[in-house]
Symmetry: C2
Subunit: 337 residues, 2 copies
C-alpha cells in the first residue's frame, strides 16, 4: 500500500497541472481510484492496484488532433514519472489506440469468436432495417464496401477468397452443370429483398450485374423461403450437380436449448441431399476456426442425415473477417462399389 500511495503522490501533479478536479477513493485493500474532471467535459480515471498495476483511462468528447497530442503529452509525463519512481524498473508499458464511440461511424465489429477488432470504416453507405434484420453496408478504406447483417460481417468487396472457397476453390468445372445456390443475398438469392436492393447498388464488385435482372440466360434468382422450393424440387425429382449453401443463418450456439436451430440446419441439409445427384457436391461455409465446439456439433449433424455422407474441410483467410474461416465440402457416400 505504501507503493500505491507513492504512485498517487507522483502522478497527482500531472493531472492537477491540467486544471483537473480530483476525487480520490481509497479502498485500503484494493488500492486507489482517482477521478480527474476537466471543465470541458473530459475526465480521467487513474486506477492504482496494490500488486503493481496502474491503469490510466482518458475519456473526452469531440476528439480532435489537438486533443490527441495533449493526451500523448500527458501519457508521456505519466510514463516518465513512473520510470523515475521505480528507477526504470517497470515490467511493461502499453498504450492502446483510442476507442471511438457515439459517432456516426461505428468502427468496431467483433469477430465471431468475440474479439474486439477495429475496422478502417470511413463511410456509412447504407443502413436500413428490413423486417428480418438490420442491413448495413459500410465502406472500409482497404476492404471496400462491407455488408454487415445484424452486426455480423458477411462479405466485403475484397473477399473473392470467400466466393472461391464456397465454389470449391477452383477445383470444379461448372461448364454445363446444374447449380443450386441457397442464400447469397450479396449476389445470389435471399429471402430479404432489401439485402438484394442494398447489394445491387453498393456491392457491385461482388455481385456484378447479376441482381439487376432476376433472370438471365443461364440463371434465375428466387426471392423466397428456400425450404418450400427445395421440397418442390425434391418432389419433382429435379437434381443438381452442385448445391451451394450460403445462407446467412449460421448456428454458432452450442447450448442444447437451441436444438431447433440444429434441426432447421439438418432439414436444409436433408432437402439439399435429396436434390443432389449421386456424384454431386455440396459446398457451405462453416464457422470461424476458433469456435471448435460449434464446428464439432455441425459435423455431428452430418452423421444424422437421411443418407450417409462424407465431408472434407478447408481453412480460408477471408480478408475482411480478421479470423480464419472453415468451409465444408459434403458428398454422398458411394456405396456398393
Amino acid at each position: 500500500m505504501s507503493d500505491c500511495n507513492a504512485v498517487l503522490k507522483a502522478l497527482q501533479p500531472i493531472f492537477q497541472e491540467q486544471g483537473m478536479t480530483e476525487t480520490v477513493h481509497n479502498w485500503e485493500d484494493h488500492g486507489y481510484l482517482v477521478t480527474y474532471i476537466k471543465k470541458n467535459g473530459s475526465f480521467a480515471n487513474l486506477r492504482i492496484h496494490p500488486h503493481g498495476l496502474v491503469l490510466v483511462d482518458l475519456q473526452s468528447y469531440n476528439d480532435d488532433m489537438k486533443g490527441r497530442e495533449e493526451v500523448d503529452q500527458l501519457l508521456n509525463k505519466v510514463e516518465e514519472r513512473m520510470k523515475e519512481l521505480f528507477h526504470g524498473n517497470i515490467k511493461r508499458v502499453k498504450r492502446l489506440p483510442a476507442i471511438l464511440r457515439g459517432g456516426v461511424i461505428d468502427r468496431y465489429w467483433p469477430t465471431a469468436d468475440g474479439r474486439l477488432v477495429e475496422y478502417d470504416i470511413d463511410e456509412v453507405v447504407y443502413d436500413e432495417d428490413s423486417p428480418f434484420q438490420n442491413i448495413k453496408i459500410l465502406h472500409s478504406k482497404q476492404f471496400g464496401n462491407i455488408l454487415i447483417l445484424s452486426g455480423d460481417v458477411n462479405l466485403a468487396e475484397s473477399d473473392l477468397a470467400y466466393t472461391q472457397a464456397i465454389m470449391g476453390s477452383g477445383k470444379e468445372d461448372y461448364t454445363g452443370k446444374e447449380v443450386l445456390i441457397l442464400g447469397g443475398g450479396d449476389g445470389g438469392s435471399n429471402i430479404d429483398q432489401m439485402v438484394i436492393d442494398g447489394c445491387k447498388k453498393h456491392m457491385r464488385k461482388t455481385c456484378g450485374d447479376v441482381l439487376d435482372n432476376l433472370k438471365g440466360e443461364c440463371y434465375q434468382v428466387l426471392i423466397e423461403d428456400c425450404i418450400p422450393v427445395l421440397k418442390r424440387y425434391a418432389k419433382e425429382g429435379r437434381m443438381f450437380d452442385y448445391v451451394i449453401n450460403d445462407l446467412t443463418a449460421v448456428p454458432i450456439s452450442t447450448s442444447p436449448e437451441e436444438d431447433s436451430t440444429w434441426e432447421f440446419l439438418r432439414l436444409i441439409l436433408d432437402l439439399s441431399m435429396k436434390v443432389l445427384k449421386q456424384d454431386g457436391k455440396y459446398f457451405t461455409q462453416g464457422n470461424c476456426i476458433n469456435l471448435t465446439d460449434a464446428l464439432t456439433l455441425y459435423e455431428e449433424q452430418l452423421s444424422r442425415l437421411y443418407c450417409p455422407v462424407e465431408f472434407s474441410k478447408e481453412t480460408v483467410c477471408v480478408p475482411s473477417y480478421m479470423e480464419l474461416w472453415v468451409f465444408y465440402t459434403i458428398w454422398k457416400k458411394q456405396t456398393g462399389i
Copy 2:
C-alpha cells in the same frame, strides 16, 4: 439537461442495487459523470452527455466468468431501462467486448495503420530483449506462433501468403538461380542472433530446419550487417538473379526530419541494384495499404536510384496482419532495345 437528469434517475437504482457507492459530478453544460464503486475494487463510470450519448464503462480486477455474467445482467438492465424511458426510441445500442489489461498475456497488437485489434493469444512462448529490440513469440489459437519485434507483428506460422508474395507469388523458377536474401530473421539472415535463436526453436513451421545449420548444400546464412556484405559483393562483381529484401526496418515515417531512414533505404536499394543482374528481380514488402503517404514516399525513392528502375506492386492478405499489405517487384529498366 432535463433528459440527462431523467437518464440519471432511471439508471441510478440499477447500480445502487449492486451495493455500489455513488459519486455524481454535474457539469451543467456537459451532462453528468457518475462513478459507482464496489467494495471488491471494481467500479463503473456512467457518462451522460446532453446530446443523447450515454456511455457505461465497467472495470474490474480478476475477471471470471461469473463476473462476466453479472456484467451482462447489469447491462441488460441498463438497456431495458433506457428503452422504457425513451419508449424504444433509441438509435443505437452497442456493447464492446471487454478489454483485458495487466495480465501475463497481452492480446492487443495494433495494426500498422494504428487500429486496435485483439488477437487470440493464449501463450507467451518467448519474450526476450536483445541489444537491438524486444523479441516476442506469442501463440495464437488460429495463426500459430507469431513473431513480434518491438510490438510489430512480423510473421506467423499461418503466413505462407507473405513468403509466397515476397518470392514473386509463384511466378518465378528459382532452379539454378543465385538468390540473395536480406533480412528474414524468421528463417533467413538477420543481424540479431536472438531472433534466429527464438525462431529456430519456436517458428519451425516457417523456417523448417534452415536455421539449424547456417550453411547447407545450396545456401549460407550470414549473421551480420548486410551493408558491408553488399559492398563486398558489388566490389567483387558478384551478381544475383534475385535479391529479396525482407529487412524488418520498414520506414513508415512520413516526417521530413527522418530523412536519414529514407537515405538508408536508398543505400540498400542502390547496393542491391549493383549486385542484381540486368534481367534480375528485386522483391520486397512495402507497407500496409492504408499508409498511402509512406507508400508514395517509397515509390519516390525508386526514381532516385543510381540506375533507372521500374516496379509493379501487389496487395496481399497476410492472415495474422489483419490488414492488407503491399509488396513490390523492382527491376532494372531495359534500355536501348
